[in-house]
Amino acid sequence: MRLILENISMRFADRVIFENISITIEKGEVLTVSGPNGSGKTTLVRIIASLLRPTMGRASLQVGNIEYSGYQRLFQVGLVAPDLYLYDELTASENLGFFSQMAGIKTTDFSAELEQFGLRGRGGDLVKSYSSGMKQRLKFILALLRKPPLLLLDEPMANLDPAGKQVVEEIIKRHEGITVLATNEESDLKYGNRTIRLGD
C-alpha cells in the first residue's frame, strides 16, 4: 500500500495555495500536514481524498496491484473533517446503518463501536441532540466502518475532551493503513513520522 503525491500544486484564481508537493507514504506511516489557517491543509486533504482536483500534479493510492488515481480513490478513504456532516434527523445507529449498507457492510449492531467511542446507550438518540464532541466521535466510527486503507483526519482533535483524544490517539497508533493528519496543533505533530509544512 502506497500513497503517492507527485508535484501537486493548487491555485485559486491568482492565489497560489501550495506548489510542487511530492511525497510517497508507505503502509503504516502517518503523514502530518501542518501550517497556519489558510495555508491549504484542508485543500491538500481534499486532493488526497480525490474530492478536489489539483491545478497541477497527480495523487494516487496503490492498494495491492490496484492503483486509484481518479475519484474511485474516494471509496478507499475514511474521512474525519469539520465539513463532514451526518444526518441530524436520523439517530446515530440509523446513520451508521445507512452508511454501512452503502459500504456493503452487513453489520447492524454498532454497540461495540459506540462503546469504544464513549457513546454507549446513545445510539438511539437523534444526531441533532448530540454535542459537537459526540458528533466528532460519531464521525470517527463512520470513518473506520469500512476499515479504509487511507484514513484522512482533518483537525481530528477538534471538540474532543481528553478521553476522546486518547481514543483517537490509539486509533492513529493502531491504524494499519496510511494515515494523513492535518492539524493546527503543534502537539499533534508527534503522531506523524512524515511531515509536510504548508505556508512556510
Binding site: 463532514l84 456532516y85 451526518l86 444526518y87 441530524d88 434527523e89 436520523l90 452503502m102 456493503g104 463512520l142
Partner: protein, 228 residues
C-alpha cells in the same frame, strides 16, 4: 454481475428508505409541494367559479399545476443534501448509481403522493370529466415516470448552485417541455368524448420514450454531475 446488481438494488433502496425517513421527520419537500399545489388548485377553482373551463384548457391547467408543484419540491432531495452538508459523507460512502436510483424512487413517490391528492381536488373544483379513464391513467403514469427522471438529474445539477430555485425552473422548463406537450395532448384526448385508448397511443409512445431516455441519461450522467 448478479451480486453487483442486487447490491445496487439494496443500496438504492437504502437511499430511498433514508430519504423517506428523513422526509417523514423534517417534511422538507412535501410541505413545499403540497402547499404550492393546493394553493394553485384552489386559486384556479375560485377563479373559474363562474365560468366553465373548456376541456382542453382543463388539461393545460392540470399539467401546469403538476409541473410547478414538481419544480417547487422535487429538486429538494439533492438541495437538502447540499444545504445540510451531508452530501460530502454521501459522496464518500455511497456509490453514485445507488444515490441516483434512490433519489429517483423518492421523487417518484413524492409525485405519486402529489397526484393522489391533486387529482381528486382538481376534479372536484374544476369539474373534470374523464371520458377515457384508461388513457388518463396511462398518461399520468408515463408522464410521472418521465418527470421523476428529469427532475432527479436536474435537481442534482442545480444543488451546488447558489440560486437553486430559479435555476431549477429555468433549466427544467426546456427539458420538461416535450413531456408537458405530450402529457397535455394525451390528457386532452382522455377528457374528450368519443376517443379511446388507441387514440392516445402516439402520446403514450413519446411519453414512454421520454421516460426511458431521461432515466437512462440520468444514470449515465449522474456520475459526472455528482463527482465533478
Amino acid at each position: 454481475m448478479a451480486t453487483e446488481r442486487s447490491g445496487l438494488a439494496i443500496k438504492s433502496l437504502a437511499v430511498f428508505k433514508k430519504d423517506v425517513l428523513s422526509e417523514f421527520r423534517t417534511r422538507y419537500a412535501i410541505g413545499a409541494i403540497l402547499m404550492f399545489a393546493l394553493v394553485t388548485v384552489v386559486a384556479v377553482g375560485f377563479a373559474s367559479a363562474r365560468i366553465i373551463i373548456e376541456k382542453n384548457m382543463q388539461a393545460i391547467l392540470f399539467w401546469l399545476v403538476i409541473y410547478f408543484a414538481s419544480v417547487a419540491g422535487l429538486g429538494q432531495s439533492f438541495i437538502k443534501e447540499e444545504e445540510s452538508r451531508t452530501a460530502l459523507a454521501l459522496r464518500i460512502y455511497a456509490p453514485a448509481s445507488a444515490i441516483f436510483a434512490g433519489k429517483y424512487l423518492f421523487n417518484l413517490l413524492l409525485l405519486i403522493f402529489l397526484e393522489a391528492i391533486i387529482v381528486p381536488i382538481y376534479a372536484g373544483l374544476i369539474g373534470l370529466e374523464i371520458s377515457c379513464a384508461e388513457l388518463f391513467v396511462m398518461v399520468l403514469i408515463m408522464a410521472t415516470l418521465g418527470l421523476a427522471g428529469s427532475t432527479t438529474i436536474i435537481g442534482a445539477i442545480i444543488s451546488k448552485a447558489s440560486i437553486k430555485g430559479a435555476l431549477f425552473a429555468v433549466l427544467s422548463f426546456p427539458i420538461v417541455l416535450p413531456l408537458l406537450i405530450m402529457a397535455i395532448s394525451g390528457t386532452q384526448k382522455a377528457l374528450n368524448s368519443n376517443l379511446e385508448l388507441a387514440d392516445g397511443l402516439a402520446e403514450l409512445k413519446v411519453l414512454l420514450s421520454y421516460a426511458v431516455v431521461m432515466t437512462v441519461a440520468g444514470f449515465m450522467l449522474f456520475d459526472y454531475v455528482w463527482h465533478d
